[in-house]
Chain length 334, copies 2
């Protein structure tokens, strides 16, 4: 076998706020030998996640990545060579293979085998990956929406949000999406079937929420935090559940930015506000994949992908994500 | 029967912040006739609750009281005359009889009959009343403390807090009390058996929490909100539960005061913050009373009462409560 070289994106420095291309560097190294218990995977698709900001920002993050390492990422790739029982060359996997062309990994890096021949593999990084499974798991386990309840979603057209909206709708909820551009408003209406859509950049969000949620907000799926969430909090119904899933609108947490205190709202509405990280729920990952695969096959779950080509496009991708320039799941095709 | 007159404390105006004596007025009226389905109760004990601020402040509060009404309060009293099946003259009741000497009420106003002859009746307004049952219910249903976990309590020497601390200790938790005077620190150590006590007015609360909770805070029973809570939030352990039970340190919520945003803490610690109001849990009230009666009889639950004599002492009592001048449950004896 000829020596393979591997082009990879390394973490060059910890970002102070949103990671930019300057926090990464590209390097080419030989692919190391594949030892017993390891396999070589050739990546086809790389993922870009809002959560990457947290992984990069803080050494104490639940999924921290160190300076000097290949950038941590979920990927879809094909096994080239396997020295692991149960994995064979040619199999397609989804797992933690990093922003690079080739990864030598142990089985622990694999999240799932991708075996369905009727579903595009890239979906396992999006609507059937972290985004979709985050949406399904958090909505189910923390939100617990009941038919007829009102579910509000921030970043309503995003990878997670668009899935939350459709799942809540399929459960018989009234869905209200918060988003930021006319194009996303259109997608929320036409693709993701929200009952109400609010453009928080052009509308009076308080008045719009009052109009869209006359009985209050039962479930708030929060991907943004910040002023958008402050507005939603003021409209919580008695017994509301707030799923804290992301903080996309806050660029810097050190020192923590100030906002209106939530204690009185939580008390008088007997509301619950709870942080959600999918990695605590990997034991149920497969069952939510199956549930969403059924919806995909039945054409009941619409998704959007925003694909760029080539490893070089990864470096600026997190920054673009936080600028709100994406419509749907951000992916890199190799 | 001669005509009885009734001295009562009426709500005179809505307070802007903490209710003071000026928000009330005393008046004397004849006791009305006791109709079918009603009974006449002579009050022996009146309660003063921190929650009364909320009842008075906001017409939309869960337990709002209107200007011109007798001040809403739980009381212990004796039935003088009954036109209700199942209630007889001479029986002692705990219920919503108001800040007055006599109340004509329907059975719906009764929370429970007080039948134990070996327990002082005033306890049914304190450690066996809203305070104790709030402590037991919220700690159990929202906190869910496990043996070995660290439980932090604000207003640790107060009516609710002192009960929380002792219940958590009896469940095998490490207990840390936050309080404000040397006298209360002493009570927390000697009466309520906290493992650690922090005087947040004299100590560096951040350093003291770090020292007292090296593995973080698993359950925070919050009766104060504000800066005290901000400090505790920074020490939450993964999977922490924050019970939002009171906001004693915040004098005014309109407009809401600003504080450090909690979203990132809730997210990275996968923590839950939830408001608790006992009135949502009245179906389990009796079972928690029985549980606490057993602890009282076994001398395993210590309590303090702060008693003043006479109806007139009620009017300034809420203000005194918020000045932190009480040690234990604030009661008025008639």
């Amino acid at each position: 076998m000829t020596t393979l070289t591997n082009e990879a994106i390394y973490v060059a420095s910890r970002p102070a706020g949103i990671p930019t291309a300057e926090n990464f560097r590209k390097d080419v190294q030989p692919v190391p030998a594949v030892k017993q218990g390891q396999m070589l995977v050739r990546n086809e698709w790389l993922s870009v996640e809002p959560a990457m900001r947290g992984w990069l920002a803080d050494a104490n993050n639940y999924s921290s990545v160190a300076v000097g390492e290949v950038m941590r990422s979920l990927c879809v790739g094909v096994v080239v060579e396997s020295n692991v029982d149960g994995f064979s060359a040619g199999e397609r996997l989804m797992g933690w293979f990093g922003w690079q062309h080739y990864a030598v990994v142990k089985p622990a890096a694999v999240v799932q085998k991708v075996t369905a021949s009727d579903i595009p593999p890239s979906l396992y990084l999006g609507v059937l990956g972290l985004n979709g499974i985050t949406a399904a798991t958090a909505l189910d386990k923390i939100g617990g929406p009941k038919p007829g309840e009102t579910v509000v979603v921030s970043t309503a057209a995003g990878g997670v949000g668009s899935c939350v909206g459709q799942l809540a709708k399929s459960l018989g909820c009234r869905t209200v999406g918060l988003t930021s551009t006319p194009e996303k408003v259109k997608a929320c209406h036409e693709q993701f079937a929200y009952d109400h859509v609010i453009n928080y950049k052009t509308e009076d969000i308080g008045a719009a929420l009052q109009n869209a949620c006359p009985d209050g907000v039962d479930v708030y799926f929060d991907n943004t935090a910040g002023q958008i969430s402050d507005s939603v909090m003021r409209h919580l119904a008695i017994g509301a559940r707030v799923i804290v899933c992301g903080t996309a609108s806050i660029a810097k947490w050190d020192p923590p930015p100030m906002g209106p205190r939530v204690e009185r709202i939580l008390l008088t509405r007997r509301a619950r506000m709870q942080g959600f990280i999918l990695f605590d729920h990997m034991d149920t990952y497969g069952s939510y994949v199956s549930q969403l695969e059924s919806l995909i096959r039945a054409n009941k779950l619409t998704y959007r992908e925003h694909v760029t080509d080539g490893l070089d496009t990864a470096m600026g991708a997190i920054e673009e994500l936080y600028r709100g320039e994406n419509l749907g799941k951000r992916l890199i095709r190799l």
